[in-house]
C-alpha cells in the first residue's frame, strides 16, 4: 500500500445517546448518508463497501437502504472493535482503490449498546466462560479489565490518582465538545464518587453506553484534491493480531494486559515514515482507563510502565504536549467503537474543531496515521 495514496473524503455521525429509538440499520443509514454528503458526493457515486460483521448488515442490504450505485467492490472486516473500523476496513478500502476495483468506498458502522441483554451478553455463549468463569463471577469486560489493572499495578505501580487521570483527561476534552455524551467536569472527588464496579475500576473508568453510528468515505488522493475539504490522507496503517480468541483472551494469555498495539503502531509508523515524536495528537481506543493507558505506552507516547505518570502529569490534556482523545474518546464522548475516534482525527486535521482545535495539527494516530496533505 502506498503512504498517502488514499484520503478520507467524507465523514458522518449520528447523535450519540443512551436509548435511541433508531435501529442499527437506521443509524448506519443516517451516518452513511451524512458521510456521502460531507464528501460532496451522491449515493450513486459510492461503488464500494467495507462492512462490519458485528452490525449484522451486509452490503446488499446497505446498498439498497442507501440507494448507492453499482457495487464493484464489497468486503467484510471480521476483526473486533476499533481494529475493524479504524484499521482493517480502511486497509481493505485502500487496497480496493489502489487495485482499481472501486472509486469511492463507504465504511459504515453503528452500535446499539442498549439492546436487550446489553453489550456483554455474547460472553455467555462462550463455552469456557459458561463452564469455568461465570460460576465464580468472573464475567464481562469491567471485571476482566479490572483484573488486568491489578496485574499492571503489580508490575509497574499505579496509584488511584494516576488511574483517575485517564478519564479526567478525556472528560476535559469532552467538556469542549458539543456532541459529547458526558460533559460535566470531573475532578478527583467526582471520580471517587463514581460507583465501583470491580476494583479498581469505577463507572468512570469504563466506556459509555451509546447508541450511535459513524461512517466515512475513502477516495484516491488525486480525486480528493477536487472534493470539498482539505485532503486528509492515510499515511500509515498497521494491523496486528494475537491469535487469542475471546474465550481465553482474558485469562490464559501470558500477559493479560498486553495488546498487539506495539506491533500495529510500528507497522503504521514504518509505512508513514514517522515516529511518535512526530505526532501532533492521538486518538486511542479507550474501552477502559487501563487499556487506554497501556496503549498510550504501546504507541510510544511514553515509556513502557510510565502511562500512569504520563496522564497524571496532564500530558494528554487540553494544552498538554500530546492531546489525546480530543472529543472525549469512548469514555466521555461516546462509544461507537473506534470510528468516532477516527472521525475526530479527520475533523481535527481539517481544522474544524473550534475551541478544541489542536494547533498546527499534522498527524493523528490510532492504528492509523493521518496527515493533512
Amino acid at each position: 500500500m502506498k503512504a498517502g495514496g488514499v484520503a478520507i473524503t467524507g465523514v458522518g455521525e449520528t447523535p450519540f445517546i443512551r436509548g435511541s429509538d433508531d435501529t442499527v440499520l437506521q443509524m448506519i443509514a443516517r451516518a452513511g448518508l451524512d458521510a456521502i454528503a460531507d464528501a460532496g458526493l451522491t449515493p450513486a457515486d459510492i461503488d464500494g463497501f467495507v462492512v462490519n460483521q458485528y452490525t449484522g448488515h451486509g452490503s446488499d442490504e446497505l446498498a439498497h437502504v442507501l440507494g448507492t450505485g453499482e457495487r464493484r467492490f464489497a468486503a467484510v472486516a471480521d476483526s473486533a472493535g476499533g481494529t475493524a473500523t479504524t484499521g482493517h476496513a480502511l486497509m481493505l478500502a485502500q487496497l480496493a482503490i489502489e487495485a482499481g476495483l472501486a472509486t469511492h468506498v463507504l465504511v459504515p458502522y453503528a452500535i446499539r449498546s442498549t439492546k436487550p441483554g446489553g453489550v456483554y451478553a455474547f460472553h455467555a455463549n462462550e463455552p469456557h466462560k459458561a463452564a469455568f468463569e461465570m460460576p465464580v463471577g468472573f464475567f464481562a469486560q469491567p471485571t476482566y479489565f479490572a483484573s488486568m489493572a491489578n496485574r499492571y499495578a503489580h508490575e509497574f505501580g499505579m496509584t488511584e490518582e494516576e488511574l483517575a487521570a485517564v478519564p479526567m483527561t478525556y472528560r476535559a476534552w469532552a467538556a469542549l465538545t458539543p456532541g459529547a455524551q458526558k460533559r460535566e467536569p470531573m475532578d478527583l472527588d467526582t471520580y471517587r464518587r463514581s460507583p465501583m464496579i470491580s476494583t479498581p475500576l469505577r463507572v468512570a473508568d469504563c466506556c459509555l453506553t451509546t447508541d450511535g453510528g459513524g461512517a466515512y468515505v475513502v477516495s484516491a488522493v488525486e480525486r480528493a484534491r477536487d472534493m470539498p475539504h482539505p485532503v486528509v490522507a492515510v499515511q500509515g496503517i498497521g494491523l496486528a493480531f494475537n491469535n487469542w480468541p475471546h474465550g481465553v483472551l482474558f485469562t490464559q494469555k501470558p500477559c493479560t494486559f498486553e495488546f498487539p498495539g506495539e506491533a500495529s503502531a510500528q507497522r503504521a509508523y514504518a509505512m508513514a515514515q514517522v515516529g511518535p515524536d512526530d505526532l501532533d495528537l492521538a486518538q486511542i481506543y479507550d474501552g477502559f482507563s487501563i487499556s487506554a493507558l497501556v496503549q498510550t505506552e504501546m504507541l510510544g507516547l511514553c515509556e513502557r510502565g510510565q502511562g500512569p505518570r504520563f496522564y497524571a502529569a496532564g500530558h494528554g490534556m487540553p494544552g498538554g504536549r500530546m492531546p489525546i482523545n480530543t472529543s472525549g474518546g469512548h469514555m466521555s464522548g461516546g462509544y461507537v467503537p473506534g470510528i468516532n475516534l477516527l472521525i475526530e482525527g479527520v475533523r481535527q486535521l481539517r481544522g474544524q474543531e473550534g475551541q478544541r482545535q489542536v494547533p498546527d495539527g499534522g498527524n493523528s494516530h490510532a492504528t492509523t496515521i493521518l496527515a493533512r496533505n
Binding site: F132, F139, A149, R151, I197
Partner: protein
C-alpha cells in the same frame, strides 16, 4: 465477602472433569495425552493438531494468584446484589505454570488480595453446586 451464585453450564460434557475433581477435593486440568503438555482451557481442537486427545490429570492444589479483582457490582445475568462483594482470582498452580484457573477467594477476611499471594484450593458450595475456591496458604 460473598460467594457468587450462578449455574455451571457445561455445553460440552467433556468439561465435567474439572467439577468431578472439585467434588473429590482435587484440582484437575487437561493435558495432551501424547505430549503430556497442559492444554487449558480444554479446547475443541488443540492448536495445529486436530487429532490430539486430552485427559484430566490432578495437580497439587497449591499455587499463586496471577491477578484478582473484587466485584462490587456483578454483571452476571440476573440479580446478584445479595452476593457482592466477592473477590475473583486467577490461580496459577505451581505444577502447571501458565495455566490460570478462575476461582473465588475464600477464608481471607482481613487479608488484602494481591498478585502473587500464595493460595490453596478450597472448593466451596455456591447454592446447589460446588465451585473453585482458593484460600490463603500459609
Amino acid at each position: 465477602m460473598g460467594i457468587p451464585i450462578y449455574p455451571v453450564h457445561l455445553e460440552d460434557p467433556k468439561l465435567q472433569g474439572f467439577y468431578d475433581g472439585l467434588a473429590a477435593g482435587e484440582l484437575r486440568i487437561t493435558a495432551d495425552t501424547e505430549t503430556g503438555e497442559w492444554v487449558w482451557y480444554p479446547p475443541e481442537i488443540v492448536t495445529g493438531r486436530p487429532d490430539a486427545t486430552l485427559e484430566w490429570r490432578t495437580v497439587a492444589p497449591i499455587g499463586s494468584a496471577y491477578t484478582f479483582t473484587t466485584v462490587v457490582r456483578s454483571l452476571l445475568p440476573g440479580d446478584h446484589k445479595a452476593e457482592v462483594p466477592f473477590t475473583v482470582v486467577l490461580f496459577e498452580p505451581d505444577e502447571a505454570p501458565g495455566v490460570r484457573i478462575p476461582g473465588v477467594l475464600v477464608d481471607a477476611d482481613g487479608i488484602e488480595p494481591a498478585c502473587g499471594m500464595r493460595l490453596r484450593l478450597k472448593p466451596v458450595r455456591a447454592g446447589d453446586h460446588i465451585i473453585a475456591g482458593f484460600a490463603p496458604a500459609q
